[in-house]
């Protein structure tokens, strides 16, 4: 259950619209069901009243939308940013992907967002409505009279259980209290996989990646994947690839995608959130983050605007690729 309510956000948005601070609002719009919330642009108070929602299903990271939504608008756009979104916001500013002057950022607190597949696993199919009671979630399905009660630890998304920061690193205005960077256990799963044998790791990823249907949802939601033209869509890139024909191409796509966002990925977890096949794609990104932290010192993409990512930097004393393995073997 979010501490902040829909009404507070609508009031804020309406006030900023009416005093002319912003000309439009990037917000969440309710869909057919309570859980399929989509990002949308609102321009009037009435539209907000009609469609704006804020719930445990508002996980979408709006930062990426600013790249396209700030073009060709008069005035500024209001955007609501959860703490993790602010990192992507800064990273995109570092990469000059949108004009800061065009944006009015309101930081909002976040209690963690729900993972609908986790909810569904408990409630069963046919979810008719979702309500909240205290911090619990009440899920009514078509097949049950009584709503199923689900505790946060059972419905929170993985990325929220391992939330890395409740601190807003960028905003014009903050609603509620700011939090702190959290010492999370987000690298535990990567470390566990590292401790397996190569055969076990290969089997794990073979199983995960073979489910990929190349819907491109991960790429389309990723705030680091904002290329004007993706290499996979570009015949001149040499690796144009629209659908994975075999195991190699499943791997190729995900390795290259993870490599391209390495050092720029803020670990927002959108890739795994949107994956319809529930592939733990964030583990690939976290592997790069963990490695770079280990090899070159702690680095959080987007913590500040203008930082230099590890892969576009160097020191003369860096580890050799071979030493990387030697070190890990001695640690193990």
């Amino acid at each position: 259950m979010q501490k902040i309510t829909r009404d507070v956000l609508i009031d804020k948005a309406s006030a900023l619209l009416s005093d002319g601070t912003v000309s439009c609002v990037l917000g969440w719009k309710k869909g057919e069901f309570d859980y399929d919330v989509t990002p949308a642009v609102f321009t009037t108070h009435d539209e907000l009243i009609k469609d704006f929602v804020f719930s445990d299903f508002c996980g979408a990271n709006f930062s990426k939308y600013l790249v396209s939504k700030t073009k060709n608008i008069e005035g500024r756009i209001l955007v609501f940013l959860k703490p993790c979104d602010t990192y992507s916001f800064n990273q995109l500013l570092t990469e000059h992907r949108f004009d800061r002057e065009k944006v009015y950022a309101v930081g909002i607190p976040c209690e963690g967002m729900a993972d609908i597949s986790k909810v569904r696993a408990i409630s069963g199919e046919g979810i008719a409505s979702i309500d909240t009671s205290g911090d619990k979630m009440l899920v009514t399905t078509l097949y049950d009279d009584e709503p199923v009660e689900i505790a946060p630890c059972d419905f929170l998304a993985e990325r929220c259980i391992n939330c890395k920061s409740k601190k807003h690193v960028a905003f014009d205005e903050l609603i509620g209290e700011d939090g702190d960077v959290i010492d999370s256990n987000r690298f535990d799963e990567v470390a566990r996989l590292e401790s397996l044998t190569p055969d076990e790791r290969f089997a794990f990823w073979q199983n995960e990646l073979s489910r990929c249907i190349r819907c491109n949802a991960c790429r389309d939601a990723c705030p680091a994947c904002t290329c004007e033209k993706c290499v996979f869509d570009n015949p001149a890139s040499g690796i144009e690839n629209k659908s994975p024909a075999n195991e190699f191409e499943e791997k190729l796509f995900h390795i290259i995608r993870a490599y391209h966002v390495a050092g720029r990925c803020t670990d927002c977890g959108e890739c795994s959130r949107v994956c319809p096949q529930n592939i733990p794609l964030h583990l690939l990104n976290r592997k790069f983050i963990k490695d770079m932290n280990d090899f070159y010192g702690e680095y959080q993409a987007g913590a500040e605007v203008g930082m230099r990512a590890p892969l576009v930097d160097y020191t003369t004393e860096d580890l050799e690729p071979g030493e990387v393995f030697d070190r890990r073997d001695t640690d193990a």
Binding site: E194, R201, F248, Y259, K287, T316, D318, E320, G322, V324
Partner: protein, 144 residues
């Protein structure tokens, strides 16, 4: 009795200024290494895109080795430092996916190190031969 002895296919990316010259020196000194090694000349080791490495594996390479100037000696002052970071990250990721880490290597070979070039190639070929065919990052459509 095995009729066809397994021969690995090795792609070596060599920077023009040090390692390619080192390979030339190995030739000048007639220091032999297996013909399984095929060299591609690049201006600097930092020109090697991870895409090229994956492409080589896709098309049937069993091992990929990147050679550049020793750290501090880069013709372009800093190119090999970027290579070192990129390859450390990429190789570690390939290992994470369960692909044999011995199939990828980064070595610094100067223009004066013909002997090192030959020794490195001999060693790499031996290592990859011991591993056998690349099965984990192959594209069956590209197989003969």
């Amino acid at each position: 009795m095995q009729v066809n002895e397994y021969k690995p296919l090795i792609v070596a990316f060599c920077c023009n200024w040090c390692s390619y010259a080192g390979a030339d020196l190995a030739g000048n000194n007639r220091l032999s290494y297996p013909a399984d090694v095929k060299i591609i000349r690049v201006p600097c080791s930092c020109r090697v895109n991870p895409m090229f490495i994956l492409r080589a594996f896709q098309r049937g390479a069993d091992g990929v080795i990147i050679c550049g100037c020793h750290p501090g000696d880069c013709h372009y002052t800093s190119g090999n430092y970027y290579t070192r970071r990129r390859m450390a990250a990429l190789f570690s990721m390939l290992d994470f996916l369960g692909i044999e880490r011995e199939r990828t290597r980064l070595e610094w070979v100067s223009a004066a190190e013909g002997a090192k070039f030959a020794a490195t190639m001999n060693d790499f070929v031996e290592t990859v031969t011991a591993l056998g065919e690349n099965k984990r990052l192959e594209d069956l459509r590209c197989k003969k």
